[in-house]
């Protein structure tokens, strides 16, 4: 099956080349596309000078709109599987095969790479873990799905989910929202254990002050998804 790795990138000039190198080393021959979300640093120059396959958004859309551009690209080029892989070095390319396998075998439609199943590697701060736990509880309550790492951006989606995401994708904090949208739409979501790294360069898009707001917003979003019951498919 034809797989595409989508790498959202915003101001990742320092990381992106390493990310692509590790991807090529661990998954030789896999297709990829970087989505440059209108970076303000010289990410674009780095992408062009290294001949990295990429989409250049003319205005900043945020992670949701950027990923959706990648999903639309995948649909246009008829890929069977898409993998979201962050450009900041947090994700290990060596797990991409594991992530894809359940989709290939028809066991799941959306596969999330979770840090918290085997509890190995970078585990983030205690407060964040608590937040992620809470989100997991909300997801279990509303979506009847067991998710230990709802905010993980390391995930593989089958063809139908990719097509679904290319039409409907949460925009602001899309990771947990896309899980609830998928389960409510009848897709099978599965988690597998992965090991993540601490980011090497740059800062997380979510700082301490924003975390509380993030939690409230995402929880509300999940509840609203459940409440509105919109036909997403």
């Amino acid at each position: 099956m034809k797989a595409l790795v989508i790498i959202p990138a915003y101001n990742e000039a320092l990381n992106i080349v390493n990310t692509i190198e590790s991807l090529k080393k661990d998954c030789p021959g896999i297709d990829y596309v970087v989505v440059n979300d209108c970076s303000t640093d010289d990410t674009e120059e780095v992408l062009v000078s290294h001949g990295i396959n990429h989409i250049k958004l003319p205005v900043n859309l945020g992670i949701g709109g950027g990923m959706q551009a990648g999903y639309r690209y995948a649909v246009q080029h008829n890929y069977d599987i898409t993998v979201q892989f962050d450009g900041d070095g947090q994700h290990n390319a060596s797990y991409i095969r594991d992530l894809i396998r359940p989709v290939e075998n028809g066991e799941a439609d959306l596969v999330i790479g979770s840090r918290f199943i085997d509890k190995e590697g970078f585990q983030t701060s205690g407060m964040r873990r608590l937040g992620i736990r809470l989100l997991g509880a909300v997801l279990r309550l509303c979506g009847h799905v067991k998710i230990t790492d709802a905010t993980s951006g390391f995930r593989a989606a089958g063809k139908d989910v990719t097509e679904f995401f290319s039409r409907n994708y949460a925009q602001d904090y899309p990771e947990p929202e896309s899980i609830i949208a998928s389960t409510l739409s009848g897709f099978r979501v599965k988690e597998i254990p992965v090991i993540m790294n601490e980011r090497t360069q740059g800062v997380s898009s979510i700082n301490a002050a924003k975390s509380v707001y993030y939690m409230i917003k995402v929880t509300l979003a999940i509840l609203i998804y459940k409440l509105v019951g919109k036909k997403w498919r």
Binding site: I55, K56, G65, A69, Y73, Q171
Partner: protein, 125 residues
């Protein structure tokens, strides 16, 4: 009880407000589609100011103490509705802008790829 002074001020303000809408539309700064709800709000306020009997009737029916409060009540309801519709408009615009941005980016990539392929061919020839 609405005093004549208050009614006069209200009428003058509403007329100024309608004038402002017309001015914005003439300058092309407001489209007809979105001006309708503002016109409607102004019209309702104007009618209430000119014929206080309507407001008096509603005030008694709803058990509001003063007619001035009833005017405010009507105004706030209208504002809420208009703001809600604005949020809906912004959401729609946001959606379209995002879709356009993505489509443009995907096309830009295709053009870039086609140009690269064309220049490759040229170099080989």
């Amino acid at each position: 009880m609405m005093t004549t002074l208050f009614r006069t001020i209200l009428i003058i303000l509403v007329l100024l407000y309608i004038l402002l809408i017309i001015l914005l539309m003439r300058k092309g700064r407001m489209s007809l589609k979105y001006s309708l709800m503002w016109f409607l709000a102004g019209l309702v306020l104007l009618i209430c100011a000119i014929f206080p009997g309507i407001i008096r009737f509603f005030t008694h029916m709803l058990g509001i103490y003063s007619e001035t409060n009833a005017i405010f009540f009507v105004g706030v309801i209208f504002l809420l509705l208009i703001i809600l519709s604005l949020t809906s408009i912004v959401s729609g615009l946001n959606e379209r802008l995002r879709s356009l941005t993505q489509t443009q980016a995907l096309l830009e990539k295709r053009v870039r790829d086609l140009e690269a392929a064309a220049s490759d061919k040229e170099n080989k020839a």
